[in-house]
């Protein structure tokens, strides 16, 4: 039942004291006339309402969540505690600098650590999410070419295996997108890249390891081809968990990078945000960075980069998310960062190895932190699709992997276990996958019906889009 249907006139919480000064209200020209319908509820009812909704939600805390490309690792509890310290939550963003030295230290330290991990020279945490970071990075590339009066560069190269945000961000930055097909091994097709590299190319956007979970062997050649034609290399950090502490994107030839702090650095996804899409860059782009950067040692202060692209949003980013990331990096340190990465890769390879005798792997070779299965054969033989398996996993206590992505693999299921899962959890998940494979041969009908243990079954998404009902309406 919706919160509005639980509302009863006259109920409520006692939150505010009586007014201790003369009451002032707007004059008629600005006075609200339309009625408000916000619910009227006691605190008991509100509390129970949201507890009920919480029961119908599923987080990493509820169990295995191998959602490929999303890095659903465990979210340490101390991160939340540190982000709740009043010394962070009660600070106004426009306080004088000498009263926010702690906040500046957080920003400066995070910048230093993340630059070291990624091989970049400067870093901003202003962008609020990965896609926001992509847009920021592309605006840096644009500012760079503009500063050189190199205005003929109107195109960004994006592989067809890329996240949808890459081409969408390129369009927002005013670029046209050159999509290049992947080669048979799922990596960048060098010949196709060479064919499009020219003096109209502003840059390349690349995820490495890529979205099929493979480290591109030719990475140095790829970034060189782009540099040689005068373009810059953009690193989509969605998969940084697979290389952090082991390889630095800066050493692979990338000039600008975004990180998904809410993936790699353990901050929770919150049902879709808030995240943080930190953007790092090499020296040649540092003067164009957005917003402000922190300088100084004993006395820290904000400094505006010389030729800044401006603001991406208000203030300094999702600051409390940054506090959580700093807590995490301090905890892991120089030993723990590579160890997390290596175990993420180990867990993925372990699961892949234990499934590849029955499930078809899109690319049967060493994977990085995730692997992609193609259920095309299974579907042809039994009628059971990637969707059916995904939904049946829910009935078996697991969150499904990412489905139908990347687009270049048919009937794709993309599995990313992360390093924070134990061998038993992986073994249990493997057993479930194997059981469902058997079931697909014997009783495919049952899988078409899944899930059956959830409050609702599969929902009519086509109907939802055709006749959108996007809000409750009062009678």
């Amino acid at each position: 039942m919706l919160v509005f249907e639980k509302s009863r006139p006259g109920r409520g919480c006692t939150l505010f004291p009586p007014c201790d000064v003369d009451v002032v209200t707007p004059s008629d020209k600005d006075k609200r006339e339309s009625e408000l319908h916000l619910p009227e509820l006691s605190e008991t009812e509100i509390s129970r309402h949201y507890t009920e909704l919480a029961k119908k939600s599923r987080g990493v805390n509820d169990g295995f969540y191998p959602l490929g490309s999303c890095t659903m690792k465990y979210n340490p509890k101390i991160n939340e505690d540190m982000a709740s310290l009043p010394g962070f939550t009660e600070i106004h963003p426009l306080q004088p600098e000498h009263t926010v030295q702690g906040c500046l230290e957080v920003l400066q330290t995070v910048e230093k650590y993340l630059c070291e991990i990624t091989g970049m020279d400067r870093l901003t945490v202003q962008p609020a999410a990965g896609a926001h970071g992509e847009f920021t990075g592309l605006m840096l590339i644009k500012a760079y070419h503009e500063s050189r009066n190199d205005t003929k560069r109107t195109k960004i190269i994006v592989p067809d295996s890329a996240h949808g945000t890459n081409p969408a961000s390129a369009t927002m930055a005013g670029y046209s997108v050159v999509s290049i097909p992947s080669s048979a091994d799922g990596c960048v097709d060098i010949e196709k890249l060479k064919a499009v590299a020219g003096d109209d190319i502003a840059g390349l956007m690349l995820t490495n390891p890529n979205t099929v979970g493979l480290f591109d062997k030719n990475i140095l050649e790829i970034t060189k081809i782009v540099h040689d034609c005068g373009g810059l290399n953009y690193y989509d950090g969605a998969n940084l968990n697979a290389v952090m502490g082991v390889v630095k994107p800066g050493d692979m030839g990338f000039d600008v990078i975004h990180l998904n702090i809410h993936k790699t650095f353990s901050t929770p996804h919150g049902g879709g945000g808030p995240g943080c899409g930190a953007v790092g860059c090499k020296k040649l782009l540092a003067d164009f960075m957005p917003a402000v950067l922190v300088e100084g040692d004993a006395e820290k202060k904000f400094v505006k980069p010389k030729h800044s692209i401006g603001e991406m949003k208000a203030f300094y980013g999702n600051f409390l998310v940054v506090v959580k990331a700093l807590t995490y990096i301090k905890t892991l340190g120089k030993e723990g960062i590579p160890q997390a990465c290596k175990n993420a890769v180990l867990n993925a390879n372990y699961m892949m190895d234990k499934l590849k005798d029955i499930y078809t792997m899109a690319y049967d070779q060493i994977c990085m932190h995730e692997f992609v299965m193609s259920l095309e054969d299974l579907k042809r033989k039994t009628g059971v699709s990637a969707m059916d398996i995904a939904k049946a996993l829910i009935d078996n206590g697991m969150h499904p992997p990412t489905m139908y992505f990347p687009l270049i693999v048919h009937e794709a299921l993309m599995v990313e276990p992360t390093e924070t899962e134990s061998k038993e959890t992986l073994d249990d998940a493997i057993a479930v996958f194997r059981k469902l494979y058997e079931q697909a041969q014997k009783d495919p009908e049952a899988l078409h019906m899944a899930p059956v243990t959830t409050p609702v079954g599969r929902l009519d998404e086509v109907g939802a889009a055709r006749n959108p009902v996007l809000r409750y309406k009062w009678k």
Partner: protein, 437 residues
């Protein structure tokens, strides 16, 4: 060193062996030798939880927490009911992903659907999205929504928040729209300027109300001028003000945006906050970001899904209406809980308290020589001019644990009051200022 890896070293080794590898290095065989990191990262060693807690607490203590704040300018300290934190720290919400798997995410989806309904209700608009990063980026997305093949110019009021204007500029530099800033006149957006500069190439007019100085704009008049020219009208509003001020719909807006921070989110050095966006039915398919809709399953049970995804980047790629993927879902949850807790009467109450306290403070300040710069009506922020330098005045307050208004220049200060500022604290601030020469 801290870690969150359950498997022991011995278990890790056994797993490696079991799948045919002799070491971790084997797993990275595809990476060229020359890019592999040699040696360690140049960051400190990892720490125990106890040490990290001490470290982070020490950093937090280097900040000054002001018990009393009269500064707004885009970030507002309001009272946050305890129920808000109690709900948003529930792990099922906190640690869940974007609700792509609807059957196992009905709670998150319903909470967003309720949030959308509440935003539509307070703004008076037909539909709302599931949130955007903050008020400034929401404003920039709204401007981009209005673009037509022959309409590429945005008229943006100079009295929007400076970060909002700057963000609109950044986005428009990307997408190729032209931004023309409408100057201020006597603390309000210059309506005559809009009349002169609006034309067939104008996509939208953007106004903040109450504006950056807290003043109430001639919002209805601007709506009429905008619509007469065939352009769209975007209003950025303070959500608390909607308890007593006309909704953007009542003023004639096509799109309403704003920052939802005042609705249950702490000031937190600037974030995370939340951008809300709502619009008329006509524009729904241009709305960026996630949208939740109601539907049903095969048995007829009502459920909620992410919908109208044909607008979005993962389907449309370079033709998408926006690149938004992650948004501020947990903040939307906080807003939903806050609005449920205050209810329709509470929102009026808190808005009235804010407006009344600000007017009281303005009156008291005027008595001691901090005169209101403008004669216009205002909500809970206002600008004073005085002979005393802003720096001196604010320093005197700071020495008494009070964060005064935001200095606009050496003589002008932008003040803000909310329901948390009691009369006694206002009186105290005024008495301190009275002594500043």
């Amino acid at each position: 060193m801290g870690k969150y890896i359950p498997n022991t070293d011995a278990e890790q080794k056994a797993m490696l062996t079991e799948i045919g590898f002799s070491s971790f290095e084997d797993l990275f065989a595809d990476a060229p030798k020359e890019v592999m990191l040699k040696g360690e990262l140049n960051i400190p060693s990892g720490l125990s939880e106890l040490q990290v807690r001490k470290d982070m607490t020490k950093i937090a203590e280097k900040n000054v927490i002001f018990p009393t704040i009269f500064r707004g300018a885009g970030a507002y300290r309001h009272f946050i009911p305890s129920i808000v934190k109690s709900v948003i720290t529930k792990e099922n919400f906190l640690t869940s992903y974007t609700p792509y798997q609807a059957e196992t995410s009905q709670g998150v989806l319903q909470s967003i659907y309720e949030y959308q309904t509440m935003i539509a209700d307070i703004t008076g608009m037909d539909v709302s999205n599931a949130s955007i990063y903050d008020g400034a980026s929401g404003a920039a997305e709204a401007v981009a929504m209005c673009r037509e093949r022959k309409r590429k110019k945005a008229l943006v009021s100079a009295l929007a928040h400076p970060d909002t204007i700057a963000t609109i500029m950044t986005y428009c530099h990307g997408n190729g729209m032209d931004v023309e800033v409408v100057p201020a006149k006597d603390g309000l957006t210059d309506v005559e300027y809009i009349k002169k500069h609006i034309d067939q190439g104008t996509a939208c007019v953007f106004v903040q109300h109450p504006n950056y100085y807290g003043n109430l704009e001639p919002a209805r008049e601007i709506a009429d001028i905008t619509h007469e020219a065939g352009a769209r009208y975007i209003m950025s509003v303070n959500p608390i003000s909607l308890g007593i001020l006309k909704s953007p719909r009542e003023y004639g807006a096509d799109i309403a945006v704003g920052d939802g921070q005042p609705l249950g989110l702490s000031i937190a050095f600037g974030g995370p906050y939340i951008g809300f966006m709502s619009c008329t039915d006509e524009l729904v398919r241009r709305l960026p970001g996630r949208i939740v809709g109601e539907t049903h399953d095969a048995k007829g049970r009502v459920g909620y899904v992410l919908t109208l995804q044909a607008r979005e980047q993962h389907i449309r790629r370079e033709k998408a209406s926006s690149n938004v993927c992650s948004n501020q879902a947990l903040c939307a949850l906080a807003v939903g809980v806050y609005l449920s807790a205050v209810g329709k009467e509470g929102l009026k109450e808190v808005a009235t308290l804010c407006m009344s306290k600000a007017h009281y403070m303005a009156k008291e300040l005027e008595k001691i020589g901090f005169k209101p710069e403008y004669k216009t009506e205002f909500f809970h922020e206002f600008v004073t001019v005085s002979d005393v330098s802003s720096e001196k005045a604010l320093k005197a307050l700071e020495d008494n644990g009070i964060l005064g208004g935001y200095p606009l220049d050496d003589k002008r200060i932008l003040w803000c009051c909310t329901e948390v500022n009691g009369k006694c604290c206002i009186d105290k601030a005024v008495s301190i200022l009275k002594e500043v020469k």
